[in-house]
Structure formats: structure tokens, C-alpha cells
């Protein structure tokens, strides 16, 4: 039996399944159960198949553990060892808790990834059908350089799926009374993640204390008891492990405040030009001194501070991942521009904001094409070739629409200038030359394809093109052939191409021929294939020559 060589992590006796006593084994890669006295497992699940585990609530007579599989099935184990049922169950649960996430991550991540790509990209899916399903090339070949090219893409698409945090996530942790003067908080992994993302200080504490000093449960219990969570309560004492978090937050808040704001229009500090000097003014006395705020007022202002901080943290958590590099860029640009008032760089943000504030868009004429002034920072760089410095938007869709309407407008108002026309003979010869079959039209006799063939043939042709393109891409990537692996591959690709030509292109050509006069719509495809063959041929002959 295979299990003999497996590492057994935990064995629990007296576990019932379907009213049958037996033994539960937790192994390195699977969980299994065998009836008592038998040498085989009647139940065996790979960890990667398990979606989640569930346990019966504390205080229930039956102590059970349920495993739910990805397929939707489930198996329930009943721990019936009188003395240690609960500890057994806990042990199994804890071990599973550690093991499952590992396998979840592993669980055919690649396959999922491929699957996702195929689902998201219909063209790719079609290509896959054309090439792999029809066995022109193998699946591995297909994915071989697909994955590497898409790796960068999929990191991008990962980012876009970043979900923000609900502002009210703390409110969602509703305490429930458990009937005997206690409170129960239900935490889900989502909420825990939200807490960690919003309050990195708590995460740090968690890392420091769990599991060496506290169990997870204790940690969260303390969290909910803490002054930190209930900010309106006045401090409970220094023993609280979260008092440090509060201090850290305070520090963070202070540093944010000290940093100041980037937008000068909302900076209340610099709003006043000339503050009234001390001692003048009739309202000054009211705000001069209130050293003795009562406890209630103190807690009120703590609440206010907390809301500001909480909202700021949530905002920051939302943007922390996405624009981390962006942020840095703006940071550096601001340090060389605006960090200190004393150096006289015009803070660009200020200029922009001021312009924004004084513009009346509706008073200006809307049209007038927007142009982007060419701004050469280093002209020699420009002369040496186009280097994409930064992505700039050159045309907005609005611009395009505008220009189209502009053209349309001009066409509508087109008035032929009758004083400047050609003679009729010149015109007729020009028209003749430009008509199909004329002197100037010989090279491009083809009419637009969409007028010649019905749409389904077009679609088929398109698929053929894509498939051929993919194969040819594989083919051409083999050049220059400088390794035995590539040599092998290039020969294989040739056979792939030939197979493609035989199984796909020929039938299509025949079909087209059957339906239409010899519309040479596959000519270009064949040309491409022929070029490839020629290349290969040339390479082979050269190689032969060298060998001789």
C-alpha cells in the first residue's frame, strides 16, 4: 500500500464515521480513515481536495469534525473517545488548520491559472482549440512560452482585483451575548485581514505574540477588551499590549500631520495671511484657554480623532498596494520640487490647483484640437531613437470624436473650387487608372474581403490566421538556431506547420473553392508558410554544407 511510505502525522483512535468505529490518520498529503481492525482506508481525501473543515459547537453532546470537499461532498467524523474526545478533535482541527492552507495554495495553481487565462481570453481559447485540441501541437508546447510571456500580465491583472476595505468592518464584528454575562465576537479571516491591513501595528503585535506568548484566541480577546478597540474608554493601564499600538498610531498621525498637505488650497495653516496678533481681536478670549477639559470632553475628542485616523488608515490601506511605486515617484518629484519653501521651485501641484480653481470651462469654446506640446528634456536622447519616457495620453476618445465631427463638418461644407479643375480628358484617364483593372490598381486587385465572402468564412479565416500566426511565432522564435534543443524544435515545428497545412488549411481551401471561384484568400497564408519552409530549407542546406 502506498500509505506505508507516507509520513503519518497524527493518529486518532476511536473516531466514528457512518456509525462505525475506526481510526483517523492525518498524513503528509491526505487524511484517511479506516474501520477498526481493517487494514485499508475506506475514506481518503487529499488535502488539496478539501475546501474547508467545520466543527460542532462547544457544549454539544457529539463532538464532530466535518470536511467539505471542493466537489461539495462532505464526510463527518465523530470523536467518541470518552476521555479525550475534545482534545482529539482539537488536535485534528489544529493540524488541519495548518495543513490545509498550504495545499490550497498549491492546489493546481498553474492549472487554475491556465484555465483563467483561457476563460478570460476568447482568442486564446480558440487558438487552444485549434492547435491543441486538434493535436497540431501538444499542450505543453502551447503553454511553454505562453506562460512566460503572460507572467507579467497576470501580475497586472492580480492587482486590479485588489479589493478595498469596508469602512465599517469593525462595526461588522457584532458582539453577541452568550447568555452568561459574556460577549462573543465572531471573526472571519476577512475581518482579520482587514484589521491587519488597516492597523499594521496590530499585525506586528500579532507577529510578536502569537503563538509564543498568547494563543490566537487570547490575542483577539485582549484586542477586544483593549482600550485600543474601544477608543472612547479612558485608558485602562499600561499592562495592555495594545497601548503601544495606540502610541504608534498617535505617532503615525502626528507624522502625517507634520508632513502637511500637498494641496495648498486645503492647507488651513497657510490660509490666513496675517493672523491677528495675540491680545487683539474680540473672539480671541474664547479660545485662549481651556486647560481643564472634563473627562467626557476628552473622550469625545478622542472619538473624533479616532474617526479621522480610522478613515485615513482605511484610505491608506486601499492605496498602499496599488500605487506603492507611484507614490514613490511623486514623493521623489516633490522632494526635488517642493520639499522646502526656500528653494524656489514652483510647486507644480500648486500651479495646477490654482489653474483648476480659476477655470470656467463653460465660458470657453469647447472645440479646438487639444495638442500635446513636445517637451524634450534631453534632446540628444530624442535624436537617438524613441525611448518611451513615460506613458502619455496623446489622444483622448473625446479628441477622436471631435476630430471625426470636425472632418464630417468639413465634408458637409465642402464646396468645390470650380476655378481649379482638371481637364476632362485628364480626369477620365485618372479614373480609368484608378478603377479596378486600371494601371494603378493592378497590384491590389483584391476587393475588400468583407464584400467577397460571408461572415462565417471570414471568421474561419481569422482563426486560421491566428493559429498560423501562433505556429509561425513558435517557428521563428527558434532562430537563430544555436542549441540542440532548438534544432530539434525547429524540425518539429516544421512538421507542425505541415500538419497544420494539411489538416486545417487544405480543407479550408477546398471548401472555399467548392463555394466560390478561386478566390485566392488563403494566398497570403500559404506565402507565409512557404517563407518559413524556405527559411528552414536554407538553414538545413547551410548546415549540411558546413557538416561536409
Amino acid at each position: 500500500m502506498a500509505s506505508l511510505s507516507e509520513e503519518v502525522l497524527l493518529v486518532l483512535k476511536k473516531v466514528r464515521q457512518r456509525k462505525q468505529d475506526g481510526t483517523l490518520y492525518l498524513m503528509a498529503e491526505r487524511i484517511a480513515w479506516g474501520p477498526e481492525g481493517k487494514d485499508r482506508f475506506t475514506v481518503s481525501h487529499l488535502y488539496s481536495d478539501i475546501r474547508c473543515q467545520k466543527i460542532s459547537p462547544d457544549g454539544k453532546a457529539k463532538i464532530q469534525l466535518q470536511l467539505v470537499l471542493h466537489t461539495g461532498e462532505s464526510s463527518t467524523f465523530h470523536f467518541s473517545n470518552d476521555s479525550s474526545a475534545l482534545t482529539d478533535r482539537e488536535a485534528a482541527k489544529d493540524l488541519l488548520q495548518q495543513l490545509l492552507p498550504k495545499f490550497k495554495k498549491k492546489a493546481n495553481k498553474e492549472l487554475e491559472e491556465k484555465n483563467r487565462m483561457l476563460q478570460e481570453d476568447p482568442v486564446l481559447f480558440q487558438l487552444y482549440k485549434d492547435l491543441v485540441v486538434s493535436q497540431v501541437i501538444s499542450a505543453e508546447e502551447f503553454w511553454a512560452n505562453r506562460m512566460s510571456t503572460t507572467n507579467t500580465e497576470n501580475t497586472l491583472s492580480d492587482k486590479k482585483q485588489d479589493v478595498g476595505i469596508s469602512a465599517a468592518f469593525l462595526a461588522d464584528i457584532r458582539p453577541q451575548t452568550d447568555g452568561c454575562n459574556g460577549l462573543r465576537y465572531n471573526l472571519t479571516p476577512d475581518i482579520i485581514e482587514s484589521i491587519f491591513r488597516t492597523y499594521p501595528a496590530v499585525q506586528q503585535k500579532y507577529g510578536e505574540n502569537v503563538p509564543h506568548n498568547l494563543t490566537e484566541k487570547e490575542f483577539w480577546t485582549r484586542f477586544f477588551q483593549s482600550h485600543y478597540f474601544h477608543r472612547d474608554r479612558i485608558s485602562t493601564g499600561a499592562l495592555d499590549i495594545f497601548s503601544e499600538c495606540a502610541k504608534q498610531d498617535e505617532k503615525g498621525l502626528k507624522s502625517m500631520v507634520v508632513q502637511g498637505v500637498k494641496n495648498p488650497l486645503v492647507n488651513l495653516l497657510s490660509l490666513e495671511d496675517k493672523t491677528i496678533e495675540e491680545g487683539y481681536g474680540f473672539s480671541a478670549a474664547a479660545s485662549t484657554s481651556n486647560p481643564n477639559r472634563t473627562g467626557k470632553e476628552n473622550s469625545n475628542s478622542a472619538i473624533i480623532k479616532r474617526f479621522n485616523h480610522h478613515s485615513a488608515m482605511i484610505l491608506a490601506a486601499g492605496s498602499r498596494r496599488g500605487d506603492a511605486p507611484n507614490d514613490q515617484a511623486s514623493e521623489t518629484s516633490s522632494t526635488d520640487g517642493n520639499s522646502r519653501d526656500s528653494d524656489l521651485f514652483q510647486p507644480p501641484i500648486k500651479k495646477v490647483k490654482l489653474q483648476e480653481a480659476i477655470d470656467y470651462l463653460d465660458l470657453q469654446r469647447e472645440d479646438g484640437p487639444k495638442t500635446v506640446a513636445l517637451n524634450l528634456k534631453k534632446s540628444d536622447r530624442y535624436a537617438h531613437g524613441p525611448v518611451p519616457l513615460e506613458s502619455q495620453k496623446y489622444t483622448t476618445s473625446q479628441d477622436i470624436i471631435n476630430s471625426i465631427t470636425c472632418i464630417r463638418h468639413e465634408m458637409a461644407n465642402y464646396v468645390p473650387n470650380l476655378a481649379q479643375v482638371l481637364t476632362s480628358s485628364a480626369v477620365s484617364s485618372a479614373i480609368a487608372a484608378l478603377s479596378p483593372g486600371g494601371v494603378l490598381m493592378q497590384t491590389g486587385t483584391q476587393q475588400a474581403i468583407n464584400q467577397m465572402v460571408p461572415s462565417e468564412v471570414q471568421g474561419e479565416l481569422k482563426h486560421l490566421y491566428i493559429a498560423a500566426g501562433e505556429l509561425l511565432r513558435h517557428f521563428w522564435t527558434c532562430f537563430p538556431v544555436n542549441s540542440p534543443f532548438l534544432e530539434e524544435k525547429v524540425v518539429k515545428m516544421r512538421s507542425n506547420l505541415e500538419r497544420f497545412q494539411m489538416t486545417k488549411l487544405r480543407p479550408f481551401q477546398e471548401k472555399v473553392q467548392r463555394q466560390y471561384l478561386s478566390a485566392n484568400i488563403t494566398g497570403h497564408l500559404e506565402e507565409m508558410l512557404q517563407t518559413a519552409y524556405n527559411k528552414l530549407h536554407a538553414w538545413q542546406t547551410r548546415r549540411m554544407m558546413r557538416k561536409i
Binding site: 507634520v258 495648498p264 490660509l271 495671511d273 473622550s299
Partner: protein, 760 residues
Amino acid sequence: MKLNIEGLLVYFPYDYIYPEQYSYMLELKRTLDAKGHGVLEMPSGTGKTISLLSLILAYQKAYPLEITKLIYCSRTVPEIEKVVEELRKLIEFHCKETGEANNFLALALSSRKNLCIHPEVSALRIGKEVDGKCHSLTASYIRAQRLSDPSLPSCRFYEGFDAIGRQVPLPPGVYNLDDLKEFGQKKGWCPYFLARQAILHANIVVYSYHYLLDPKIADLVSKELTKKAVVVFDEAHNIDNVCIDSMSVNITRRTLDRCTSNVETLQTTIQRIKETDAAKLKEEYRRLVEGLKEANVARVTDVYLGNPVLPAEVLQEAVPGSIRTAEHFVGFLKRFLEYLKSRLRVHHVVQESAPQFLKDIFQKVCIDRKPLRFCAERLRSLLRTLEISDLTDFSAITLISNFATLVSTYSQGFTIIIEPFEDRTPSIANPVLHFSCMDPSIAIKPVFERFQSVIITSGTLSPLDIYPKILDFRPVTVASFTMTLARTCLCPLIVGRGNDQVALSSKFETREDFAVIRNYGNLLLEMSGVVPDGIVAFFTSYMYMENIVASWYEQGILENIQRNKLIFIETPDAAETSMALEKYQEACENGRGAILLSVARGKVSEGIDFVHHFGRAVIMFGVPYVYTQSRILKARLEYLRDQFQIRENDFLTFDAMRHAAQCVGRVIRGKTDYGLMIFADKRYARADKRGKLPRWIQEHISDGSLNLTVDETVQMSKHFLRQMAQPFRQEDQLGLSLLTIEQLESEEMLKKISQMAHQA
């Protein structure tokens, strides 16, 4: 486009114009023609500034002898910079159209804090410190001392300016604060002093109110400005408070303690100088005997702007003998200080008028009225003679001497209140002497008298007749313009009841009422689910907001609101609030949506705009009455009643409504903008309140929206927002609220516009 405003060619730097802009320019031109003052109200976001600038610039070009200067006063630094940018646009347009090179000089002036380029001094960032440090480097005798001792620190920018910059006038152009700094950096001249000098010959000066209204600053900066100038006070709805603030003085025990140490320093310095350089003191004495003749001559020949702290009588007389020598004056100050200290030792509140105070001081310590009146001037002279560099240290004694001069000069318009403790904390002794100005016209009087035309303008000046009354001037034009709209983009709603029919109000009796607080919370919660992007909510006071937020927190309302939007709250700390504001905008920007809880009369309500998605709804919780129990306010109300026949209630309501209008006006910043304005207090429905709102808001309040429940409000808001979400193009506006030059010149439109102005 080029406009013809009653025969004046006005270059307007846009392709289209709003009808009200045209109408505004007409009224403005008439005011300038009449060489009188004007009060003009036009909604924010209708291009008030550009209309003003275009017309006055054109006027200046057409009649260079009639008007030689435009002095544009605004409130905040960003506002000032905005005005200059608009001006830049206008002048560029002007040059392009006429093909002439620009010969106008326009510049902004701000405090040293915003203009200093000295690397060490500007790093201080706090206005007072920058001023003090600058003074210690650039004061005249310090520079004189440096001649003998070159090791003393100096400011190379000031030296550069002094050596060359004084003779070279600033070339024509438009200089914003940053442009001045850049120019200064390039030339190595101090931008602040450069600007101070340049405003004398500039065609257009943009600076803050204080440079004209605060006598302490006006005397330094603006007194030599030409008489033939137009002065514009933009965002002037609070101008009376600025005036009062600049003339009021508060004296606490701490002030007096600092004064005592100031006096000691003076005494030791005098002693020292007497031993080393007695001639200097003698010279000063001689000068004082001669009197302040120079200043007098200047004022008579109309070179200077009047200074209310330096009354005319003072100028004609010599400084009285009793305070002419330095020692005598210091002794005099000591006596005065002792007297003030004894007054602060009271155990009950005292309120008296200036003459009573003078009588008392004469009886107790034999101080006469006359030397008191010279106190400010005498101290200035002494400080100059003693060559004290850091004037910020002497702010306390300067304050006391200013107080002495004011109290002995004005028998009316001021009141003295001595409070032994704060009302909220009666057990803690914290005596304060308030010398408070009750008559804003005192500070602004020299401005009205000196300058040819003074224009007071803002988005919210209603009711218009009250400003000429309290500022005591006679305007030639008073007009209010509404916003012509192609779609009604503002939706004022008055919520009077909760869903449970509980009347909503912030009045004192129901302040603590949980039902009201809960209903307010419900309103905000419901709106947070309906309104996209940003919502701004204003409370009547900070205390009130704190209490409401706390009880919303306890009731779990805030948690529910957080499900819809992030919450940011104004705090008394400006830096913290700035950060909250920026985060708020960020949250509106990235689509999460946010709510800003803020306070009427606070910094946010006065200086921050919530354009477009930064504010789609504003909720005004309660009527923002000023704290009426304050004795100073009571005294002021009494004064207003006696002097101007303005009833207390009228003034209080006027004051509350102008602040409410300011708050709700923050969301509409133009015709393409839209926003809900929710007044959550049943008292707004009353005619006396509603009638004091600006016309452009009032005319959109329908009878059906006077006493809504929360649910009805939500329904109406939904409807409004759905309508506003439809695309809105320029063509929709054209001909109605936006005119081309051809449309403007049509008979029909001109008739309409003239009607519009007449209504006002």
C-alpha cells in the same frame, strides 16, 4: 470677446459670458463713473472676480487719470493667488487682442512668511517668528551697527535690495507670490521689501484685508497709496468682524506680567544708554517737543491714509511734558500697569464705558487723558531710540500702549468688560479685560474717506441694506444678482421634522434631546446612502458637534454611516483638520465617498470650496447663531440698537443666516456644478430667516420644500440627483445662462439684462 459696456471697451478673456456678469459690469461701471462706493452681491462661481478685473482694467486703460490704481483685497492667501492668476490671464488676453506689449504692473503682497527667501529665516515658517527674525537682520540701526562691526549677521537679499533694488522699478508684468520670490532670487533682492515698495507705483495690488483695515499694518504698508484708487473688498461678508477684530484688545494677567518685564528691560536699557550716549535721548526729547508735525503735514496734504490709532488731534500737539523724557514715560507706564493690575483683581464682572474708565484712572492714579492718548506714539519713538531689535518681545507693552491711546481717543464705540473668570469655569480665576470695539465703521472709516471708490462684494451679502448701516457709508449702487440657470443645479430643502414627526431644531431647549439627535443622525445616514461622492455637514458650534458625534457613536449611527462613506471630522487643530480635508478629497476622488463633519464659522466653512464631486450635498444642522450669552456680544447688540436702530434679533438672525449661507454656498461653485443644500432646522422655514438668505438661494426654495420629513427629503434628493446626473452640455446653456457676443448684443437680451439689474 470684446464688450461694449456703456461706451467702454472691455476685453473679456472668454468666448462666452454669463448674463449676470454683463449686468454686474454695468453696475460696476456706474459706480466708478459716480466716484462712489458700491455693494454688489453675486453668487459664487459666476465669475465675479474676472468681471471685476476686466472692467476695472478697461476703465484704467481708458481713463488713466481718473483711476490710477486698483487695490484688491481678499481674505486668504489662496484667494489672493487665484485673483492674480485670473489677472494674468486677463492681461495676456489683452496683449494678444491689442497687440501691444503690457505696460501694467500688477502684484500680490503678503506677509514675510510667504515671501521670504532667506534660507534660515523662511525656514521658521511661523509668521511671528519670521517677522521678528527678519527685523533683527534688517532694522536700520542694526545695519548701522554693522558698519562698525561687520561680524554681525545680515540678510544679503535685503542688502541687495537696498543697494540696487530701491532705484530700479519692478518691470511691468503680473507677479504672483511665487513670481516675486523667483524674481527676488534671480536678482538677489528681498521680495518682501521689493513688493512693499512696488505697490506704491503698481497699477494693481492684491493683498489681504489687514493691510488696509488693521491700523497697525495699514500704517506701515498702505498709508502712501494714492487717493485715486478703487478698493475692492472681495468675500466681504465678514468685513465688519475683521474691522472689529483689528481694533479690539484683550488684556490678561499674563499680558501684564510680560509688560512688567518689558518695562524693566526698557528701564535698564535707558539707564545704559544714559551712561554711554546721553545725546541720543536728548535728541529724542527735542524731536518730541517739535511734535509730530511731519505726520501732520503729510495728512493735511493728503499723502497718507488716516490711522484711527493716531487721531488727528495728536498730530497737532506736542507730546505732553509729563511723558517726554524716557524715564518719565517708563514711570508713567509703570503706574498705568499697576492700575490695570488692580482692575484685574475684581471678583465680579465689571462693564464700563471709556469715559468712566478715564475718570476712574484719573481719580485713582492721577493719569490724565492727554498723555494716555500719546502713549502709542511715544512708545514707538522710544523703541526706535533705544534700538531694540526684536519687536516681537515687546508686543505686550505695545498692546497696552495701543489700548491706552484707543481708550482715551474714542469715547464712543468701545466698551470695557472685566471678567474675573470664564463662564464655564467659575471656580478658576482667569481675569480678562476686554476692550472691545463695537463699531466696525471706526476701522474702515479712513478707507472710505480716502479712496475714490470702494466696492464691497461677495456671494452672500444679504440683506444688502445692513452693510452700509453698520459700516456707516453711503453707497451709490446696491445690487444683488441672481444666477441665471439653464437647469436648476441647486436644490435647497428645509427639513423640519424627523420621520417620527419630532421637530428638528438646534435651539437651546432641545439641544440635548435624544430624539432630535437621533433624527439628525438618521438624516445624515439616509443621505449618505443616496448622495454620490462627498457630503459636507456643518454644525452650529464645535461643542455641539462633539456632543452629537459622541452620541451618534454610542447609538451606532456612525457605524452605519461608515458602511456608505468614510467619515472625517474637523478638529480645533488646524494641521489635523488640513490632513482630514486632504484625505476627504482623496476619498471623494477615488470613488469611495466621504463625509466631512465641520463647524459653521470655522476655518473650513470660511476658506475651503467643495467644487463638483467634493461636495454634492451640504447639510446644515441647526441655525448657526453666535453664542449669545457673551457679554461682549450683548454690549455690541446694545450699541447697534442705540446707534443704528438695528434690533438685536434682526442682527443675530442676519449674522446666523450669513454664516449658514456661507456654509451651503460652499458646494455650488459654478453653473456646471450641482449640489443639494439641506437646512436641517424647522426655524429656517420662517419668513424672517428665509428672507435673509441670498436671493440666488431663496428663489429656489419652493413652498413644497419648507417643512419636509427625513423620508421626503431623501425622495426629493434622489429625484434631484437623478436629474442632475444627465449629461449637461454647453449647448444646453447657450442663449439662456451663457451668451455669445451676438446673443448678448440682441435687443431682447439687453432688455432682459437691464431688467435683471433693476430688480436688485
